[in-house]
């Protein structure tokens, strides 16, 4: 307890003196053990890369894309409303290029919304889906892929090969990015992890999985275009909202509310960082 108190007091002082120390050179990482490590890791990663192309060429995500397209184009809500009335930021019914230009400010709801949040909003508003039902099972499992996940996959696919261009014009769009940047770096929980613990450096891996450095555009796009993605484990589609949710689980945090401001802010940070990069999703992931 005594230790905790003294640390907290130091923290209080640190709050004030941050600016003075911000320029301090980065602390060196502890020297690696001088063991002659078996040179396996490059081999593994290279082997995965060779077969990535094969996997991406025939991505079962297309099956969900087709389902989503059918819902977007043909499903009717109460009173005959359709998703043609849904404005994803580029005008009612415009899908092409919309995915890579969210999160964005939507004046009709007075909120910054990421793609998933906006699509769910539209499916509730126009197609008569109940938000509480969607919140009951927001993510796919091996028994069921919720309709909104298929629609997200369709909308995302309509931005394939387009440049990511999340807007930073409205004050609230800038605010979302800045808050997202803070959440990204915030360490807490029993393991002291932040998003940056795994995604703040170049060339790191968890087990065999590469960890993109989400502070860099060319790396951020790798994470961005992975989701929505077909997850080989389980064999179903998962979205960016899921990716954020499960990262926080692994981070040993409590659970972020689905479609909450915190997740939109994080997605704004990641997307804006990836701005200018070409989107190649939907993805296929381990």
């Amino acid at each position: 307890m005594k230790q905790r108190l003294s640390t907290l007091m130091v923290a209080a002082v640190m709050t004030a003196s941050f600016a003075a120390h911000a320029q301090q050179p980065a602390k060196k990482a502890p020297p690696p053990a001088k063991a002659a490590a078996p040179a396996k890791k490059e081999g593994i990663t290279a082997e995965f890369e060779k077969f990535r192309e094969v996997l991406e060429e025939d991505n079962p995500a297309e099956l969900f894309e087709a389902k989503g397209e059918d819902i977007w184009k043909n499903k009717k809500g109460p009173g005959g409303a359709t998703m043609a009335q849904c404005d994803l930021g580029l005008g009612a019914g415009v899908v092409k290029g919309a995915y890579v230009q969210m999160p964005r400010w939507f004046a009709d709801v007075g909120q910054v919304m990421d793609a998933e949040r906006r699509i769910v909003h539209c499916m509730v508003k126009y197609l008569g889906y109940k938000e509480e039902d969607i919140r009951k099972q927001p993510f796919s499992n091996d028994q069921r892929t919720p309709d909104h996940v298929s629609v997200i996959t369709y909308v995302a696919a309509q931005s394939r090969n387009l440049k990511i261009a999340a807007p930073q014009k409205h004050a609230k769009e800038i605010e979302a990015y800045r808050i997202g940047k803070e959440i990204f770096a915030y360490r807490a929980g029993p393991y002291d992890f932040s998003c940056a613990t795994c995604h703040g450096d170049d060339g790191k891996r968890i087990r065999t999985q590469d960890l993109p450095n989400l502070r860099k555009p060319a790396e951020a796009v790798k994470a961005y275009q992975g989701w929505p993605g077909y997850r080989m484990t389980g064999g179903f589609m998962l979205t960016q909202q899921w990716r954020m949710n499960d990262c926080f689980r692994q981070q040993r945090f409590p659970e972020p509310t689905y479609l909450s401001d915190s997740i939109t802010a994080l997605l704004a940070y990641m997307t804006v960082t990836a701005n200018g990069q070409v989107y190649k999703g939907p993805g296929i992931k381990r």
Partner: protein
């Protein structure tokens, strides 16, 4: 943050702080933390209070993991003093049990059950035994850890302390404080020490 508060904080630290910069950073950080406290909810064993930073996290969060040397040294010393070493004086357990623990990535998530012992998560970040080719690179390779350093009582104490609380040696290390956080028990840490230092462990094989 109001202008008055900002002035007080700057004055208190007696620093010529850039008001604009400090304000922006503090402002967004505070907003981010407030937002997370609103949005993050208890699920299973992962309780909502986990989004509150503790003192050490606060220091690292406010310095982008680069605390001033003098402060870091003092806090590392505090952490080291709080390491609980086994009362029986034995620091090495069973390396085979240690290898199993090192493999497991479970523990303390909202999908883990209360009372079920967690894993060490070691291979997620470290190379360890040469037989396991699926290893992460967030932390340094631990292959031949004991072969290089020897198996002295001092080295055992260091390894135990490092696993119990990595922050006692590097204040803002990415490695969790497994003992301090209650993520690993005393006997589990002993098994991991054995995995690293036991001459029979594959970690130290040719």
């Amino acid at each position: 943050m109001t202008a008055m508060k900002k002035t007080v904080v700057c004055a208190a630290a007696a620093l010529a702080c850039s008001a604009v910069l400090a304000d922006e950073i503090r402002n967004y950080r505070a907003e981010a933390v407030a937002m997370m406290k609103r949005d993050f909810k208890t699920r299973g064993i992962a309780t909502a209070d986990r989004v509150h930073e503790d003192g050490l996290q606060a220091v690292c969060n406010r310095t982008s993991d680069n605390p001033p040397k003098d402060i870091a040294a003092r806090l590392e010393r505090d952490q080291l003093e709080a390491v609980k070493y086994p009362t029986d004086g034995k620091l090495m357990g069973d390396w085979k049990a240690g290898e199993k623990l090192a493999q497991s990535g479970r523990g303390m998530t909202w999908s883990d059950k209360a009372g079920v012992p967690g894993g060490g998560n070691c291979y997620n970040c470290h190379q360890i035994s040469p037989t396991e080719t699926s290893f992460g690179t967030i932390g340094p390779s631990l292959y031949q850890f004991g072969k290089i350093r020897g198996n002295t009582p001092e080295m055992q104490k260091y390894a135990y302390g490092k696993i119990w609380n990595a922050k006692a040696f590097n204040l803002c290390s990415a490695m969790p404080r497994f003992g301090h956080a209650g993520a690993l028990t005393e006997s589990q840490i002993k098994d991991l020490v054995a995995l690293l230092l036991d001459p029979q462990s594959p970690v130290n094989s040719k």
